[in-house]
Every structure is written in structure tokens, then in C-alpha cells.
């Protein structure tokens, strides 16, 4: 499926075309389930989140027109934001130490770099310009939806320090991306 095909399916879904919605589910649910699983790290909860994500897609598909995102990135953003809302709503559970070690290095796979074209590759290049641990914090936050509190604990720094670090990193990233 090309991005144009997915766009058509989203537009038809906004017109309440169930056939288009079914096909959109078949084409994109694996990716969106991957997003929910990665963020929520719990299969049952990810299944429930995926349901809610597709209910949102059915009801809010008309908003796609207002976004500059590619169709698949727009769908991923809905799933990511929903999954992050869910973990933020969870009671704060302390991270087990071994679990924290296990998930400490979410570097992009080679396929990610291959998919990324010139424009898309820039975020990877700009992350390279950050200090290694800060780039890892940004990647970890994005892919797993870690909160400031979790990042601070994992990096062993006070919460406000973490926040200052990350904001500076975001400003640097913006500056690099706008170059």
C-alpha cells in the first residue's frame, strides 16, 4: 500500500465507509499494535488500547486533513499519544532495576535508517549531535513514552535536572532541524 492508498482509506473512513475502515485496519493494525505494545509493555492493555485507537480513528478521521504528517505517521501519532495517555493515567509503578537495564538502549534499527530519506533522516543526524545519554533519553522517551520521572530515575538525576537537560536537547534539536 502506498501512502496515497492509506490517505484514501483515511478519507473514506472519515465518510463512514466501513469497507475502507476494515481495509485500513488490515493494513495498519500490526504497526499500531507494535506501538501500543512498546509503550504499554503489557499485552492485554495493548489490545485494549488498540481498540480505543481504532475507535478514535473512526470518529476523528476527518482531522487528518489538518495535519502535515504522512498518513501512517498520523496513525502512529494517534496510537502513541493514546498509549502514553494510558500509562500516564496508571499509578506510578517503580521500575525494576533489571527491567530498566533491559530497555536501556533503543537505538534505531538499520531498517529505520534505510526507510528514512533525506528529510526524514535529519532527525537521526541531529540526535547524533547531542551527547550520547541525552540522545538516548530523547529516543527512549519517544519510543517508550517514558515520563520525566522515569527518565530521572533511570539516569540517576533529580527530576528538575532531567527536565532542564531534555528541554535543552529539544532546543538544540530544533535548531539543528531548522538549519
Amino acid at each position: 500500500m502506498t501512502p496515497q492508498d492509506i490517505t484514501k482509506l483515511i478519507v473514506r473512513t472519515s465518510m463512514k465507509d466501513r469497507g475502507a475502515f476494515d481495509l485500513l485496519y488490515r493494513q495498519t493494525s500490526s504497526k499500531l499494535f507494535g506501538v501500543c505494545l512498546r509503550v504499554l509493555n503489557d499485552r492485554a492493555e495493548a489490545e485494549e488500547a488498540l481498540q480505543e485507537v481504532f475507535v478514535k480513528i473512526w470518529t476523528k478521521a476527518d482531522r487528518f486533513a489538518a495535519s502535515d504528517l504522512s498518513p501512517i505517521s498520523w496513525l502512529v501519532a494517534i496510537a502513541r499519544n493514546h498509549a502514553i495517555d494510558r500509562i500516564r493515567a496508571r499509578r506510578q509503578a517503580p521500575l525494576a532495576i533489571d527491567e530498566a537495564l533491559e530497555i536501556a538502549d533503543p537505538a534505531p534499527g538499520p531498517e529505520a535508517a534505510a526507510v528514512a530519506g533525506d528529510e526524514a533522516g535529519r532527525i537521526h543526524g541531529c540526535l547524533e549531535e547531542l551527547e550520547k545519554d541525552r540522545a538516548a533519553a530523547v529516543r527512549g522517551a519517544y519510543l517508550k513514552g517514558e515520563s520525566y520521572a522515569e527518565l530521572a530515575e533511570r539516569h540517576g538525576v533529580p527530576l528538575n535536572t532531567m527536565r532542564t537537560w531534555l528541554r535543552r536537547s529539544l532546543l538544540k534539536l530544533r535548531e539543528c532541524l531548522e538549519r
Partner: protein, 240 residues
């Protein structure tokens, strides 16, 4: 400490809040505030969208994992089941109750049938008598229309049930047939009941059962020939 103060004067704090929202690091309460602003402040929503675009390439790292079939069944049950309940488990309100809509549909169709049929009490014998009806509504919108298509006259009759278009806006009616892009059937005239002629080449498609949708457009209708505003109501055209 507010984020704006902390961020200094250089570019305003909103852009960094937007970045923190997209990255996902905000605590629950600040995340909720940001999410309310996305819905209510187009300028802030734009900043968020720009950061989504910047970070989107990182999303390529998410693996694809097949979801169990039960998920799609549950989605269909939530969206399309005849005994729809809202997500909280409470019975759905009157306006979203399908039974209510069916009752209303029957009443509105009867009224509309009289309205459409009276001017032509002596139709020619060889004209098909097919009539089709659609109840148009959508989640998150209070706009409701009943539509009846009369193949004999080639007209759609519309009954405006609820929902306002607002000043400087028009409702536009669209037909979606199969996998084709929506085709405009025209701007819906203001009024409680009205008729719109259907172009010859669209009649067979309507008769075959198409999806009808209403979008909110600038006065005079979509400038592009495709819907530009939100879809405020939609439904399947069915034989009666």
C-alpha cells in the same frame, strides 16, 4: 515554575511544551492541559503537529506485531453493534441510541414519503418505484439529517433533524460509491425539508446503495470539489 518562565524569552515556552507533549514526557496533569489546548487553540495544535512531523521518522523503529482477531471484533462491536453502549459501560444517550434513530427514521420516512409523493399522485407506470433512505449522523456531531432518494423523480428529499451550520458555513452533501472519491451532490439548502435534484449519471450509483455524507464547508460549498471541512453526518442509503 511554569514552563514558559523556565524556557526564557527566546522563542516562547509554547513550542517547548508542544515538543514535550509530542515526546511524551509530561506528567499526567500537564499532558491533559496540553491536550485541551490542542483541541481549543489552533496555534498550539500547529506547533504540536510540527513536532510530530520532526519526530515521526523515529516511529519507523516500532515493530509490526499482529493483533489477535478478537481486537477487531471488539472494535466492530463497540462501533457498529445494535446494542451500542458508550465506552464507560453506561447506556448510550438517547441521541446515540439506535432504537431511537430507527423509530425516528420510520416517522421521518413516513413524513418525507408523503412530502415527496403528493405532487406526483399519477406517476407513469414504467418508472421504477424504488425508494431508498439514509439516516445521517456522526459521533461528536449533533448534525442529523434524514435522506430519502426517489428513483422515480431522481430527487433526494432531505429532512433536517438537528444541528446548526453556523454563520458563513454551508452543509454540503456527498455521495461515496465503492472506493471512489466523494462526489458532491450540492450544497444543502437551509430549511426543515428540502429537495435536491440528482444528476443523471449519479442516479444508478445511488440506486445501487451508496454512502451519503454531509460536510461543513465555506458558504457556497467546497472550493476544491472534495470535502474540505469535517464530516458532520454520514450514513448508508438503504432500500425501504
Amino acid at each position: 515554575m511554569t514552563l514558559a518562565e523556565d524556557n526564557g524569552p527566546e522563542r516562547g515556552g509554547d513550542d517547548i511544551v508542544a515538543a514535550e507533549y509530542v515526546l511524551g514526557v509530561l506528567p499526567a496533569d500537564e499532558r491533559r492541559q496540553a491536550s485541551v489546548r490542542i483541541d481549543g487553540e489552533p496555534g498550539f495544535a500547529r506547533l504540536v503537529d510540527e513536532w510530530e512531523v520532526r519526530f515521526a521518522p523515529l516511529g519507523a523503529a516500532y515493530p509490526e506485531v499482529e493483533a489477535p482477531a478478537s481486537v477487531k471484533q471488539a472494535i466492530d462491536a463497540r462501533l457498529f453493534s445494535t446494542t451500542a453502549r458508550s465506552a464507560s459501560g453506561q447506556p448510550a444517550g438517547l441521541w446515540s441510541s439506535l432504537a431511537f434513530w430507527r423509530g425516528l427514521a420510520t416517522a421521518a420516512v413516513a413524513a418525507l414519503a408523503i412530502y415527496v409523493a403528493v405532487p406526483m399522485l399519477n406517476p407513469p407506470v414504467d418508472v421504477p418505484q424504488e425508494r431508498m433512505v439514509a439516516s445521517l449522523a456522526a459521533d461528536g456531531s449533533d448534525v442529523k439529517y434524514m435522506v430519502m432518494y426517489d428513483a422515480a423523480t431522481g430527487e433526494v428529499g432531505l429532512s433536517h433533524v438537528a444541528g446548526e451550520r453556523g454563520s458563513g458555513k454551508d452543509f454540503e452533501l456527498w455521495m461515496i460509491e465503492g472506493s471512489n472519491p466523494p462526489v458532491s451532490m450540492g450544497v444543502i439548502p437551509v430549511g426543515a425539508t428540502m429537495k435536491m435534484p440528482v444528476k443523471e449519471d449519479m442516479r444508478d450509483k445511488l440506486a445501487a446503495g451508496a454512502v451519503l455524507a454531509v460536510s461543513l464547508e465555506p458558504t457556497g460549498g467546497s472550493p476544491t470539489g472534495q470535502p474540505t471541512g469535517p464530516v458532520v453526518a454520514a450514513g448508508d442509503l438503504r432500500e425501504i
